[in-house]
Structure formats: structure tokens, C-alpha cells
Amino acid sequence: MRFILILAASILMGPLTVAAQPNNTPPQPRTVPGIPLQDLQSDDSLLERLDRVWEGVKGLFSVTSTINATSQMRGGRQEDNDFRWLMNIAGYKLKEIESTVGLIPGLGLNFAVARELTEADRDFVERELDRHSRLNPGPIGAIQRSIVYGVLEASDMGKYGIEKVEIDLLPLPKVKILMAPVDAPLSLEASRVLRAIERLNSSINTLMPRQRGTQLPLWIPEDAFVPISVPDARRL
């Protein structure tokens, strides 16, 4: 008990005695440290390792914006470790990131079609994938390339078009490509819009014959009429 009291007093008094030292005292020699430095924390625990794996997976698929100083644009070309960029040149834009917090966390990326590819675009993608395979020969790079190749192949099926590409990273990696027939029936809303456009077209077509044979513009801008002052009008 006595020992504990002495220990507690020394712990409490230690900092106070240090703080109470006047500033003009000569500096203590460095061989006698005041407060011992703490030991380095272990970075090899299971949680730390899991955290590193998780960050690695996130980074490899560029869920977060990981474009660093070395991945600057070079002639419109980013560094090739950016999966989003590969999908972008393949005509797909990242639309949503789905993350689920729970007992089994989930993370997924949803890409949507941004544009059709020309023949030259397709060649460019294939060439960039070749380059990617040289720069990223590992398994993750191979997975990325196989996803992009798969999307390219699927988008070339004549009667079907890709609507969405869903990439789940957690809990289990999965790629889901949603395809729909090109001539699929329209939704109610879309067909209403289409009918409205058709009505507008037909009304314009019925108006147009009246304008034929005349050289007048359909619409005269307001600034075409310059106000004339009274003296000018008299001169005219």
C-alpha cells in the first residue's frame, strides 16, 4: 500500500516538478530524458492488416479519388491504374457508389452508359488495355481488364444494349451487366414524351408550308427595330 502511494505521488508530482522548473535554468543534458518516448504501435495486428487489404481494394478500383501527382493527364491520358478511367474510355461513367454499413458491410459501383463507341474509340480502348496489361500485370489488373473486355464484348451484341454495369466489391466480388433489347417497349412516361415530340413535329410541319416562298425570317429580333428620332423621321 505504501509502495502504491509513493508511486502515485511520483506520477502526479513528476509533471508538476517538470513544469515548475524556471525557464532560465540551463538545459538538461540530452543523455537524461525527461519523458520516455512510447514504443511504436504494432502494425501487424489482424485489424490493421484487414484495414490495409480494404484500402488496397478500394484504391485498386479507385472508389475514392486517388488521382495523385503522378497520375496527371498526359495528352488526355491518365495513368493507367485508374479503373474508372478505363471504364470511361469504354463509354461508361460512374453513376453511383453503393455502400452498406452492417454486420456484413457492402460496397458496389454502378456504371451507366455514357456514349456509344466509334471504331477508333474501340481500338483506343483495346490499345489502352494492352498498355494496362504491361504496366499492371498482377491479378487485380487482370480482373479490371477482364471487366472492361467483358463490357466491350457485351456492348457489341447487336440486338441488346448494356444499360448498367454493377460491380460489387463486398461482401463478395461480383460483376453484373444489365442488358436490354434495343427495341424494347418504352415506359409510359417515355412514350408520353415521344408522343408530345411527334405532336410538336406535326404542328411545325403544318405551319411550315405558309412560310414557303417568303424570304422573311420566322422571327425578327427586337434589336432589329432601331427607334427613330423625330428629326430623322422628318428627313425620311
Binding site: 495528352g75 488526355g76 455514357a114 456514349r115 456509344e116 477508333a120 504491361r134 464484348e153 457489341d156
Partner: protein
């Protein structure tokens, strides 16, 4: 000695004659088989000469291959070569199987899945794909011209019929390169390029102009591929684009005023004896090393497609001899290697050593294209 049966009964004259007839028949059949054996090893062919198709950009390489192949192989007839536009060449190649259809296609475009489906529908199911070299398109000026580097985007903004101002497309009225980018010289914009429909013209459109506009935000918003392509590759109509045949372009560049760029091959620049200078494009100097590493963008693979079905006989009849030998010759080191015939005579850059080995393996195994 009298002939007896197994059970010891004497054989009759009739059974003896039957046995002789049977033996005679057997020997006759054996002779027939032996006589037919040479015919099985050398089946008939529908044609003597190979039939090769090439697109405009690969015609020179195809001629080199045919010349070398004819000189080094005992061919019954010199291979026939037809030069077609790439889509027509693919269509002809995939039109079917048999002596009335071509055997080999040498092109600079990879077969698309749609073309592959068309081939399959026509019965062309076994195609061997072999890459034999890399071609390149180079922008060149007269040696000593202050214009020595451009980006693809600069080229598009100088040559395109329309440019993006804000969010809309307006007519391109830039007169000098400096109006395109402040760091460029104050010389008039001029381009000498291949005639419309020419092979290097399509490369210039696809590999330079489309590359220049591909990352433009206004262009990226256009969904439809055809419309987007037209915005990228339509060139200005105000006389700044001079169209010449491919082999006349170097001479036209030398005669033109400063600021004139031309679309040529790396081989043409090397053959100019230092009068032409290759422009740095997107900060990359065109060279064998940058072309092989894919750092230099305007390059294309030269690919040989061969119908494996034509190189095999069915019921003693085949289409033509020599497809396999021609492919092997094209992929050999003395033809497609760094100092090979295609590099020295046709201006192609050799593939990387690993890739050349892979292509030779494909030919040796006659592996069918799997894509």
C-alpha cells in the same frame, strides 16, 4: 499332298477355288489400298495460287510478303493480290469457304465481333490471327520549321471544321498555329494529307483527330457515335487542307510554306534523307521504341488473317496449298523481326520479342482466333 480341313476331312475342289478367289480378292484390295495411299497424302486442290486480300494501308507490306514468299518457296503460281477498302476486304474474306473465296487477309484493323459473327454465318469458322508488325502515322514538317511539336488536341482545333466555344460548336476560323495555342509559332495553318478514302487519311482521322477531340467535355457529352465522329473528323473546307496521294505528300511538304504539316509514315521520314522532320505528338517523339511501347499513339497493328479451313483437305480435296507456309514465312524473324523484310522494305516496326514468339507459336499451332 492333299489339302485337308481342320477336322481332317479332305477339301473339295470347289472350296479350294473359293479360297483362291478370296485370297485374290484380298490381295487386289491390298493393292488398291497401296495404290490409293499416295493420293491420300497429296489431295487435289481447287486452286494453284494463294488468294490474298489487303487494305490500302497494308498493300505495300502484302506485296513485300508475296515477293519474298514467291522467291523462297516453290509455288506453282504466284499468289494473287487484291487491294480493297477495309470493310469490303473483310466482307470478301468472310464471304464463304471454297476456291471462289480468298484465303488470306492482311489488314490493319482487328476483326470486330460483328464481322466475326458475319464470318460464322457464312461458314468461315476457323480463322488464324497473326500480328506481323506495327505501322505508324507521323506528322512531319520541312526540316528547320519552327513548328516541331503539337498535341492531338492542337491538331483537331487547327484542322477541324468546327471548334467548341463555350458550350456550342462554331466554325473554325483560326488562321495561324498561335491562334490555336499561344506556345506555337505564328505561321499559317496548312495540312497535306491523303485523299479522301485513302488509307493514311482514315488513320489520320481515327488516330489523330479523334484522339484530339475524344477528351473534350463538349464532345464527350454527345452520345451517338456517328455524330460525335463527324464533329471530330470533318476538316475545314477553306483551302487549308491539301489532298495528295500518299507518295506525293513528302514533296508537297517540302514545297509548301512554313507551318505546313503532312501525314506520312515513319519510313517516309527516314527515306527523306533529313529533309523532313517528324513532329513530337503529345510530347512523344515517334521512334521504334515509342511505337513498340504504345507510348506513341497513332500506330496500328498489321494483322494477317488466314482461313484454316482452306489449308485442310476434305475427302481428298482441298482449296489451296501454302497458307500455312505463307503465315509461317510472314511471322518468321527474317520477315517480321527488327531487321526483317517488313521493317526494312515496308516501314513497319517489329513487335516486341515476346510478342513475336507468341505469334510464331500461334502459326505453328494454327490456333484459331478465340476472341
Amino acid at each position: 499332298m492333299k489339302s485337308t480341313t481342320k477336322r481332317g476331312r479332305p477339301m473339295s475342289t470347289e472350296s479350294l477355288s473359293r479360297g483362291r478367289v478370296f485370297l485374290a480378292l484380298c490381295s487386289a484390295f491390298a493393292m488398291l489400298v497401296c495404290a490409293a495411299q499416295p493420293a491420300a497424302t497429296a489431295p487435289r486442290t481447287e486452286r494453284d495460287a494463294l488468294w490474298i486480300l489487303a487494305s490500302g494501308s497494308t498493300a505495300h507490306a502484302a506485296r513485300e510478303l508475296i515477293e519474298g514468299f514467291s522467291a523462297t518457296h516453290q509455288v506453282p503460281a504466284r499468289p494473287r493480290l487484291d487491294i480493297l477498302l477495309t470493310p469490303q476486304a473483310f466482307e470478301a474474306f468472310c464471304s464463304g469457304i471454297g476456291g471462289a473465296t480468298p484465303d488470306i487477309l492482311i489488314t490493319s484493323r482487328r476483326v470486330t465481333p460483328a464481322t466475326r459473327d458475319y464470318c460464322r454465318s457464312q461458314g468461315v469458322t476457323e480463322i488464324v490471327e497473326v500480328r506481323i508488325g506495327i505501322g505508324s502515322l507521323v506528322l512531319a514538317t520541312k526540316n528547320g520549321d519552327p513548328l516541331n511539336a503539337l498535341s492531338s488536341e492542337d491538331v483537331w482545333r487547327a484542322i477541324g471544321a468546327e471548334v467548341v466555344r463555350g458550350e456550342e460548336f462554331v466554325l473554325n476560323r483560326a488562321r495561324t498555329w498561335r491562334e490555336v495555342s499561344p506556345g506555337l509559332p505564328d505561321s499559317e495553318i496548312r495540312l497535306v494529307t491523303d485523299v479522301a478514302g485513302g488509307s493514311s487519311r482514315s488513320y489520320f482521322e481515327d488516330l489523330v483527330l479523334q484522339a484530339g477531340c475524344r477528351h473534350n467535355p463538349a464532345i464527350m457529352l454527345i452520345f451517338e457515335a456517328g455524330y460525335r465522329r463527324s464533329k471530330c473528323v470533318t476538316m475545314r473546307p477553306d483551302g487549308r487542307i491539301i489532298e495528295r496521294r500518299m507518295h506525293d505528300i513528302p514533296g508537297e511538304i517540302l514545297r509548301a510554306p512554313p507551318g505546313t504539316i503532312g501525314t506520312v509514315t515513319l519510313a517516309q521520314v527516314r527515306a527523306s534523307g533529313g529533309t523532313l522532320a517528324a513532329l513530337k505528338l503529345d510530347d512523344v517523339v515517334p521512334s521504334n521504341a515509342t511505337i513498340v511501347s504504345l507510348d506513341y499513339l497513332p500506330t496500328f497493328n498489321v494483322i494477317l488473317y488466314a482461313k484454316r479451313q482452306h489449308s485442310r483437305a476434305s475427302n481428298g480435296v482441298g482449296v489451296v496449298r501454302g497458307i500455312r507456309e505463307f503465315s509461317t514465312f510472314a511471322a518468321s524473324e527474317q520477315v517480321s523481326g527488327p531487321d526483317g523484310r517488313l521493317s526494312t522494305n515496308a516501314g513497319l516496326v517489329a513487335l516486341s520479342p515476346d510478342e513475336r514468339v507468341r505469334q510464331r507459336r500461334t502459326v505453328a499451332n494454327q490456333s484459331i482466333m478465340s476472341r
